[in-house]
């Protein structure tokens, strides 16, 4: 048997430890057989080398043998093993893509009818944005399939919340105000009518203000909604402003018709 120096022994143990880590994800490969093949190969390669074998001599043999991962070919891995190994060993941006998709999937599978779903979507959206920033649009490649579901869902929720959130809040507040006004006999208006008027008024005002703001700084919309709002410009902001003005005009006409 070839005698290894202490550092060479540590190097070999580290190599075998990494091989075993990969072997854990394969059901078809025989761990003992792989380790025997490695041991026999190293033994034969180092025959005639001055002993104890130095770590540099061993490193040369291990370098020719190649990465510990190649001892477990892709076809010997189950889908779960492939996924885990990708997460553990792929470049940072791919890991983020897998994490993002896993968070989204876990959210829908475990918390479909719970508010926690929103937390998972938010986490998945943020991770996707980080992956997008790390890789850049043009270098995303197949990662798109993992990142875009969270980006589409997250952007849709964000855009809806920003555009309609103030109106919905105004509608809720309007309902509360209405109850108060009814108690004090200030209003004979129907509650639904009152809520719709409150929501439309605030939505119209909000769209006017945000349309004007985005006209001056369109990048405010592009950043949070990347990559879907990359082409957002002043014309789109003007359209938002105009829609807000139109809502307010329609609302004014409706209110005037009540009196």
């Amino acid at each position: 048997m070839v005698e290894l120096s202490e550092t060479a022994r540590k190097g070999l143990d580290d190599y075998l430890r990494q091989v075993r880590t990969y072997l854990r994800w394969s059901r078809s490969l025989d761990r003992d057989e792989v380790e025997q093949n490695i041991a026999a190969h190293i033994e034969r390669e180092l025959e005639g080398t001055p002993q104890p074998v130095s770590s540099s001599a061993l490193e040369g043999v291990l370098a020719r043998l190649g990465s510990p991962r190649q001892w477990v070919p892709p076809e010997a891995l189950g889908w779960w093993g492939k996924l885990i190994l990708k997460l553990r060993t792929d470049s940072e941006d791919w890991r983020l893509a897998y994490i993002s998709f896993a968070l989204l999937l876990a959210g829908f599978l475990l918390f479909l009818a719970s508010p926690l779903l929103l937390v998972f979507i938010a986490a998945s959206f943020i991770t996707s944005r980080a992956a997008l920033a790390a890789a850049g649009d043009e270098n995303l490649g197949a990662q798109k399939w993992l990142l875009y579901p969270a980006l589409v869902i997250g952007s849709a929720i964000l855009a809806t919340a920003v555009l309609c959130g103030p109106g919905l809040l105004a509608g809720t507040a309007g309902a509360e105000l209405y109850q108060l006004a009814r108690m004090r006999h200030y209003s004979d208006m129907d509650i639904v009518e009152f809520v719709i008027i409150s929501a439309t008024l605030i939505t119209g005002l909000w769209w006017v203000v945000s349309g004007l703001t985005l006209c001056k700084r369109p990048a405010l919309a592009r950043g949070p909604l990347r990559p879907f709002a990359d082409r957002f410009n002043r014309h789109h902001a003007l359209a938002l402003f105009s829609t807000g003005v139109l809502l307010l005009i329609l609302l004014a006409g409706y209110i005037a018709s009540l009196w």
Binding site: M1, V2, S28, L29, D30, E33, V34, Q36, N37, I38, A39, A40, H41, E43, R44, E45, E47, R64, L65, G66, S67, Q70, W71, V72, P73, E75, A76
Partner: protein, 113 residues
């Protein structure tokens, strides 16, 4: 860009060629793993990482194309010898025939400069 294309292409080509070369190496003889690696080493650009040969040998054994016998060695760990099975001999004839046809056809497409 060219390097990446070439690397991908040569990796694909090497995958199939390694199996053919391993089977040819043990045709009519018996060799142990390290000897097979040493023979393949001599073929330029075929073996980038020597460790890739052993998983292929294991797969060929599982598929019944090669058979193994283990013999104790006084010089070190027991040696596992590989020989071609009857099934392996059959597939090797077909693989060599296929490769010869492909090589002849591909060479025929090359124009003399």
């Amino acid at each position: 860009m060219d390097d990446r294309f070439f690397d991908n292409w040569s990796t694909q080509l090497r995958k199939g060629m390694l199996e053919l070369c391993i089977l040819n190496a043990i045709d009519g003889t018996r060799l142990y793993g390290y000897d097979i690696v040493r023979q393949l080493r001599g073929i330029d650009a075929l073996v980038i990482s020597e460790g890739t040969v052993y998983p292929i040998l294991s797969r060929l054994r599982r598929e019944g194309f090669v058979e193994t016998t283990i013999e104790e060695s006084a010089e070190g760990p027991a040696r596992k010898y590989y020989t071609l099975s009857e099934k392996g001999r059959g597939i090797l004839v077909r693989m060599n025939d296929c490769w010869a046809k492909m090589k002849t056809g591909a060479d025929g497409l090359k124009r003399e400069e």
